[in-house]
C-alpha cells in the first residue's frame, strides 16, 4: 500500500511556531486597545434591551390599582403551566381581580406567550433576570413579588405596541 502523503507539509517557520506566537500576541495586544465587551457582573449590571424577556411581572397602575382582571388567559396559554390565577370580585368597575396570582418560576420557560395573550397589557416580561431560590416553595412568586409599578415597564410596553 502506498504511504499516505500529507496534503501540505509544514514549512520550517511554521515548524518552529515562533512567528505564530508573535502573531497571536499581536492580536492580543491590538485587542487591548479596543473597547471591552465584558462587564464586571455583579458590580456592574447588564441592562437588557426592550426586546429582552426576563421574568414576567404584573403592572400596577400609578394609583395603585391592579391592571390584571384575572381572566386566566395567561394561565391557559402557558405551555409550562407555570401560572395559577384565582379570580375574586371587587367593587371596581372592572369587577374581577386576581385574589391569588402565582407564577412558578421553576416551571416558567420565559416564552412570553402570557404577555402576548394578555388583553389588559397587565402581564409583562420585565428585564429582571436575577432569579435565585434555594427551595421549591421560594420559586413560586406570589402577588407581592409580581406587582411592579407600570412606570418601570414603559420600555417594554413601548416595544410591544410598536410591534402589534
Amino acid at each position: 500500500m502506498a504511504e499516505k502523503k500529507r496534503l501540505k507539509d509544514l514549512s520550517f517557520w511554521q515548524k518552529i511556531y515562533i512567528p505564530e506566537i508573535i502573531n497571536g500576541l499581536g492580536i492580543t495586544l491590538s485587542n487591548m486597545f479596543k473597547p471591552s465587551f465584558t462587564m464586571e457582573y455583579p458590580e456592574v449590571k447588564f441592562e437588557p434591551p426592550a426586546s429582552y424577556r426576563g421574568r414576567p411581572v404584573l403592572a400596577l397602575e400609578e394609583n395603585g390599582e391592579e391592571r390584571c382582571v384575572a381572566c386566566g388567559l395567561c394561565s391557559r396559554v402557558c405551555p409550562a403551566l407555570a401560572i395559577e390565577v384565582q379570580a375574586g370580585e371587587t367593587d371596581r368597575e372592572k369587577e374581577r381581580y386576581p385574589e391569588k396570582f402565582e407564577i412558578n418560576m421553576l416551571r416558567c420557560i420565559f416564552c412570553g406567550f402570557c404577555e402576548e395573550v394578555c388583553p389588559e397589557e397587565a402581564i409583562i416580561m420585565s428585564k429582571d433576570y436575577e432569579l435565585a431560590f434555594t427551595n421549591r416553595e421560594d420559586a413560586i412568586y406570589g402577588k407581592e413579588k409580581l406587582f411592579v409599578p407600570v412606570s418601570q415597564l414603559q420600555d417594554r410596553i413601548q416595544f410591544l405596541r410598536e410591534r402589534k
Binding site: 382582571v69 384575572a70 381572566c71 386566566g72 388567559l73 394561565s75 391557559r76 403551566l81 395559577e84 379570580a87 375574586g88 370580585e89 372592572k94 369587577e95 374581577r96 402565582e102 412558578n104 421553576l106 416551571r107 388583553p119 389588559e120 421549591r136 413560586i140
Partner: protein, 559 residues
C-alpha cells in the same frame, strides 16, 4: 314520513316540526340564540335565518314549519351574509369584556362570533350603557350590557317555573330585563336561567369568578337532593367540586334542576368537617386508627352481641350496591333481622315540576336491595324504640345522621353499648359513636340509585379519595389534572381517606370469612342483579349515561 332537503341531505320530519327542530333531531345544529327545544318559540334573535328555495326572503328556521319537498340551505352565500349581518347587529352594544365575563369559554355569542362573524365592527359610536351587577334574586346576578335580549329567561320563568317574574322594559337598544315591581327572581328553579342564558348576562352568584370552565373537568352524575334524581354534571378543579349543572335527560329532568339541589348537595364534599381515616373511641376520645385495626375492632365488638341485640340502619342516600352489601352482611354474617332505613319525607315540599317530598335519591333502591326488616324484624321506628328500651344494645348506622333527623334520638343513642357509624362528615351522631368509618360521598364513588319513577341511574366518581388516582380510575381529567405534580400548589390536592360502604363492609366481613370478594362496585352490582330479580337484565353499560327503567316500573307513567 315526510322529508325535506337540508344542505343537500334528506331529512325526515314529523308533521308540525320546525326546520331547526327537525335538523336538531338529526344532529345538525343551525345557529340560534333565542330558540330552546323546551321553550316556546320567540324568533327574536334572527341568527337562524336560512334560505329556502322558492321563498322570496330568508326565513327563520326556528319558527318555519318544515314541509314536504322543501329545499333549505344553511350555508349558502345569502345565508352567510345574513348571519354575519345579524351577528354584527347583536355585537353593536355587546361589551368586549370577555376577560372579565364568567361565561367566557361556554358562551354561545363568543363561539358564534368566531364561527359566523367577520371579526370587525363598523360601529364607532359609544355603546349603550345599562345597569350592571343587578341582583335579580338571591342566586342570580344580571348584567344588562351583556344581555342580547333573547328572552329565554323570561320564557323559562313563565313556562317552566310557572312564576312570571322577569320582563322586558324599554324599547330598541334601551331594552333591558327587570323583575316585576316588588318581585324578585326567587322561584325554586331560578338558577336554570344562568344555564340557558346564551351570554354572560345572568350568572350564578354562588359560582361567580370561582373558576374558568376550561380549568374544570365535568363528570356525569345524578343529583342527591331528592327522589327525582336529576341528571347532573359535577364540575371539579383541583379535586374540589365547584358547581353542579343539569344534564339533559328527557325522561327525568329535561334540561333543568332546582336551586336547592344545585347549591346544597355538594358543599359537604369539600367541607372542613369531613371524616378522614377510621376513628375508634377510647376513654371517651376519638383516635385515628388504620383500616385493618378498625375492621377487626368493629367485627369483634359486633360478634360480642347476640343477633337480637343488633340492628342495622341502611340509608336511602347510599347506593344500591352499598345497601345490598349491608343487607347481605347483616343477614348472612351476623344473622340480624332488625334492618331498615329512615325515610326523609318533607311533607308538602313537592311540586309538579321536579321537586319531590322524599329528600333521598335512592329510597326505592335501598328497599329493593334488601334494606327491609325480616319477617319478625323491627322497622326503623321500632328499632329506635327498642334501643330506647334497652332491648337493642348495638346499632350499625350507615350514612345517616340520626340525631340530625330527630334531636330526641340523642338521648336514645346514648343508651347504646355499641354504635358504629359510617359518616362522610362529623355530626351529632358521630359524637356518640364508638367507631366511625369515613364514608366516601356520592361524588367519590361508583354506584347506582333508583329514583321515584323506578329508573336506575349511575353515579360516577368526580373527586378522588386517598386511594384513588384520576387517570388510573378513569375519572374525568382537566388539563390541570393531567399535568399537575405534587410540587404544584394546584396539583397538591386535598384527598380524603374514605371508602364506599360496600368496600368497608367487605373488609369487615373478610376479617373472618374472606367471602366478600369484590374489587369494584360493578362486581357488587352484577351479584345484586343475579340475586334480586327486580334488577334482572341490567349492568352498568345497559344503564349507561341516561339510566334505565327497572322492569317492574316500565309501564308506570310517573312524570
Amino acid at each position: 314520513m315526510s322529508s325535506f332537503i337540508l344542505d343537500g341531505k334528506q331529512i325526515e320530519f314529523k308533521q308540525g316540526q320546525t326546520i331547526i327542530q327537525a335538523a336538531a333531531d338529526h344532529g345538525i345544529d343551525i345557529p340560534h340564540f333565542c330558540w330552546h327545544p323546551s321553550l316556546s318559540i320567540s324568533g327574536n334573535c334572527r341568527v337562524c335565518l336560512v334560505e329556502v328555495e322558492r321563498m322570496p326572503k330568508l326565513v327563520i328556521a326556528c319558527s318555519t314549519l318544515a314541509a314536504e319537498g322543501m329545499v333549505v340551505h344553511t350555508n349558502s352565500e345569502k345565508t352567510l351574509a345574513a348571519r354575519n349581518a345579524v351577528m354584527e347587529f347583536i355585537l353593536i352594544n355587546h361589551p368586549l369584556d370577555c376577560p372579565i365575563c364568567d361565561e367566557a369559554g361556554e358562551c354561545k355569542l363568543q363561539d358564534y362570533a368566531y364561527q359566523h362573524s367577520v371579526g370587525e365592527s363598523r360601529f364607532t359610536e359609544e355603546k349603550m350603557h345599562k345597569d350592571k351587577r343587578v341582583e335579580l334574586g338571591p342566586h342570580v346576578m344580571f348584567d344588562g350590557e351583556r344581555c342580547i335580549s333573547c328572552s329565554r329567561c323570561i320564557r323559562f320563568c313563565d313556562e317552566i317555573a310557572g312564576e312570571p317574574q322577569l320582563t322586558f322594559v324599554q324599547r330598541g337598544d334601551r331594552v333591558t330585563i327587570v323583575t316585576y315591581p316588588g318581585k324578585e327572581l326567587d322561584n325554586p328553579y331560578s338558577l336554570n336561567v344562568t344555564d340557558i342564558c346564551p351570554v354572560g348576562a345572568l350568572t350564578n352568584r354562588d359560582f361567580r369568578f370561582k373558576a374558568r370552565v376550561w380549568d374544570m373537568s365535568s363528570t356525569k352524575s345524578v343529583c342527591s337532593g331528592c327522589a327525582r334524581g336529576c341528571n347532573t354534571d359535577i364540575w371539579v378543579r383541583s379535586n374540589e367540586i365547584l358547581r353542579l349543572t343539569p344534564r339533559h335527560n328527557e325522561e327525568v329532568n329535561s334540561y333543568w334542576m332546582c336551586d336547592e339541589g344545585r347549591l346544597n348537595t355538594f358543599k359537604h364534599v369539600n367541607s372542613e368537617s369531613r371524616v378522614s381515616g377510621p376513628q375508634i373511641k377510647r376513654d371517651g376520645k376519638l383516635n385515628k386508627s388504620n383500616w385493618d385495626e378498625a375492621y377487626a375492632a368493629a367485627f369483634g365488638e359486633l360478634k360480642s352481641y347476640t343477633k337480637d341485640e343488633i340492628a342495622f340502619i341502611g340509608s336511602a342516600a347510599s347506593t344500591c350496591e352499598d345497601n345490598y352489601i349491608l343487607a347481605k352482611f347483616a343477614k348472612t354474617v351476623i344473622g340480624a333481622k332488625h334492618i331498615d332505613f329512615p325515610r326523609h319525607i318533607k311533607a308538602g315540599d313537592q311540586d309538579n315540576i321536579l321537586i319531590r317530598e322524599d329528600k333521598t335519591p335512592n329510597a326505592l333502591g335501598a328497599e329493593l336491595a334488601g334494606i327491609r326488616p325480616a319477617a319478625d324484624g323491627l322497622t326503623f321506628h321500632a328499632i329506635m324504640k327498642a334501643v330506647d328500651e334497652g332491648r337493642i344494645k348495638a346499632l350499625y348506622v350507615v350514612e345517616e345522621d340520626l340525631v340530625g333527623l330527630n334531636p330526641a334520638y340523642k338521648e336514645t343513642l346514648r343508651k347504646l353499648e355499641l354504635l358504629i357509624v359510617h359518616a362522610s362528615n362529623y355530626n351529632e351522631t358521630t359524637e356518640l359513636a364508638n367507631i366511625i368509618f369515613p364514608a366516601a360521598t356520592y361524588a367519590e364513588k361508583n354506584g347506582t340509585w333508583v329514583n321515584f319513577q323506578g329508573r336506575i341511574q349511575r353515579i360516577r366518581p368526580a373527586v378522588t379519595t386517598i386511594e384513588g388516582d384520576r387517570s388510573l380510575d378513569n375519572l374525568a381529567m382537566s388539563r390541570l389534572d393531567k399535568f399537575g405534580t405534587e410540587f404544584d400548589r394546584w396539583g397538591n390536592v386535598k384527598k380524603m381517606d374514605a371508602r364506599p360502604v360496600w368496600k368497608i363492609i367487605s373488609g369487615l366481613a373478610n376479617t373472618q370469612s374472606g367471602k366478600f370478594r369484590y374489587s369494584t362496585s360493578e362486581d357488587v352490582f352484577n351479584e345484586l342483579v343475579k340475586s334480586v330479580p327486580d334488577f334482572s337484565g341490567l349492568d352498568y353499560d345497559v344503564i349507561g349515561e341516561k339510566g334505565a327503567a327497572l322492569k317492574k316500573f316500565v309501564n308506570t307513567k310517573t312524570v
